[in-house]
Amino acid sequence: MTDVEERIAHGPIADAVRSGVLPGRVWLYSNYHCNLACSYCLTESSPRSERRELTAEQMIAIAEQSKDLGFTGVGITGGEPFLLPWLTDTVLDMVEFLPVLLLNNGTLFAGDRLERAARLAHPDIALQISLDSHLADINDMARGPENFAKVVASVPRLIERGVRVRIATTTGGPLDSSHLDPLRALVASWGVPPDDHIVRPIVRRGRADEFGLGVQAIARDIPSELCITADGAFWGSFGPTVSNGRLDTDLLLTRTILPVSVPANALLAAISGMPEGADATLGIR
C-alpha cells in the first residue's frame, strides 16, 4: 500500500462523503453560552445560558476520528466559542487532522484575545464572523448594541494578522436582495472574496421560532451534516436548537458522540430513504 492509499479513508462513511450523499463537514457545538443574545438565535444563547461544553479532548478526538472515517472538514459553532479560554490551542490541535471553520460573533477580539486569535493564522483555519448589515443600527437591532462597531474593528485586525476571515450574513429578506450590495461592498473592502461572504436565511427554530422569524424547515430541508454537541449528535447544524429553554430533540440522532462512527452511521441510516429536501432552494447553510 502506498503512502497516499494509506491516508485515504475507506468504508461507508468515506464512500458517502466522496459521492456527495453525506456532507463532508462535521459540526461541533463547543458550548451554548454567549456574550450576546441575538433575537434570531437558534440556541437561545445568552450570558446566562447553560454552558453545555464539549471538552477540548472530545473536540480533538472528534476531529481525528472524523478524518479517519472520511469526513473532510470540521466546523465549530455555539454559543460563542471564543468564550472558551482553551479554544485556540484546541483548534490548532484539531487542524492537524482536518480543516477547521470557526464560527463566532467577532466581538471578543481585543487585547490578549486578539493576539490569541492571531495564532489561528493558518491556511486550513477560517474564522466565520457574523455581520448582518452595513448599517450599524439595523445590524445591532438583532445582534445587540455596539455589535457592528466591534465587528468592523475586529475583521481588519484579524486579516492584518494573517487570519482567514469569512463573513456570514443572516437575513430575513431575500438572499439576493440588492439591499445587501453595500454590505457586500464593505466586506469586499476588507479583501474578503465574494465566495467567503455567506448569505443565509433565518431558520425558524430556537428563539427565531419564538419571535416568528425566518423560514420553516423540516429535516430534509436542513443540510444533512453531522452535528455533535455535549447532549448528543444531531442531523444538521440547525438540529440542536433550544426552544423555551428545552433542547429540541426532533433531529437528535444519538446520545453517543464518541466514537464518531456511532452517530455517523446513524446519520447515514437516516439519510437513506429520505426524499430530497428544499435546503438548496431555501439557501440554508
Partner: protein, 189 residues
C-alpha cells in the same frame, strides 16, 4: 397524550421524538416506555426489538409468556407492569384467580393446580424472586415438565421483563388511564 406529571424522565411525543423514533409515534401515543426510550434514540430500536421478541408470541405459547411476565413483575414490585400485564393476562384467557395467584394475592396452588405450570412458576420465581444460584431441585422439577429450549425461552422473557420492571419503576412511568379505569371496573386494580 402521555401523563408527563408522574414520570421522572421526559416522555417524548410526536413533535419531540427524534427522526429514528418517529415510526413509533405515527400511530398515536406509543406508551411511556417507548416515549422514555426515545430520549436515547440509538437504544430505542434494539431495545424494542429485544423486548418485543422476548415478550411477544413465541414457541412456548402466550399463556406461559404472560404467566412469566406477570409473575416476574409481581416479584419485582413493578406497579406499571403489574397493571399492564394484569390486563393482557385477562385478555389472553387467564382467570382472575390465576392473575391473583401470580400477583401473590392467593396461594399459588389455588390458582395453579397443574404441577407442570407450578414447575414453570418455580423456575420463574428462582430467577426473578431470588439472587444467587438456582437450586438443583427447582431445575430438575422444571426439566421434568418442560424442554430445555422452553426454559431458555421463558428465561429470556423473565430477563426482558426484569429490564422493563426496573426501567418503569425507576422512572416512575405512569399507567395509562384507560388501563387503570378498566382494572378498577373489574376489581383487579
Amino acid at each position: 397524550m402521555n401523563d408527563v406529571s408522574m414520570s421522572r424522565v421526559e416522555l417524548l411525543d410526536a413533535s419531540t421524538a427524534p427522526l429514528s423514533a418517529q415510526q413509533f409515534f405515527s400511530g398515536g401515543d406509543p406508551g411511556p416506555i417507548v416515549a422514555a426510550l426515545a430520549t436515547v434514540p440509538e437504544l430505542l430500536v434494539p431495545a424494542l426489538g429485544f423486548v418485543g421478541s422476548a415478550l411477544g408470541a413465541g414457541a412456548i405459547g402466550v399463556r406461559a409468556k404472560e404467566l412469566a411476565i406477570l409473575r416476574t413483575s409481581a416479584l419485582q414490585g413493578c406497579t406499571y407492569c403489574i397493571h399492564a400485564h394484569t390486563a393482557v393476562s385477562l385478555d389472553v384467557g387467564l382467570s382472575p384467580d390465576e392473575v391473583r395467584a401470580l400477583r401473590g394475592e392467593l396461594p399459588l396452588e389455588d390458582g395453579f393446580p397443574s404441577a407442570r405450570e407450578r414447575a414453570l412458576i418455580g423456575w420463574i420465581d428462582a430467577l426473578a424472586g431470588a439472587t444467587g444460584p438456582v437450586p438443583d431441585d427447582v431445575w430438575t422439577e422444571a426439566r421434568d415438565h418442560w424442554a430445555a429450549h422452553d426454559l431458555v425461552e421463558i428465561s429470556v422473557t423473565v430477563g426482558a421483563t426484569m429490564f422493563l420492571n426496573r426501567f418503569a419503576t425507576g422512572f416512575q412511568l405512569p399507567t395509562a388511564t384507560h388501563v387503570l379505569e378498566r382494572l378498577q371496573a373489574e376489581g383487579m386494580a
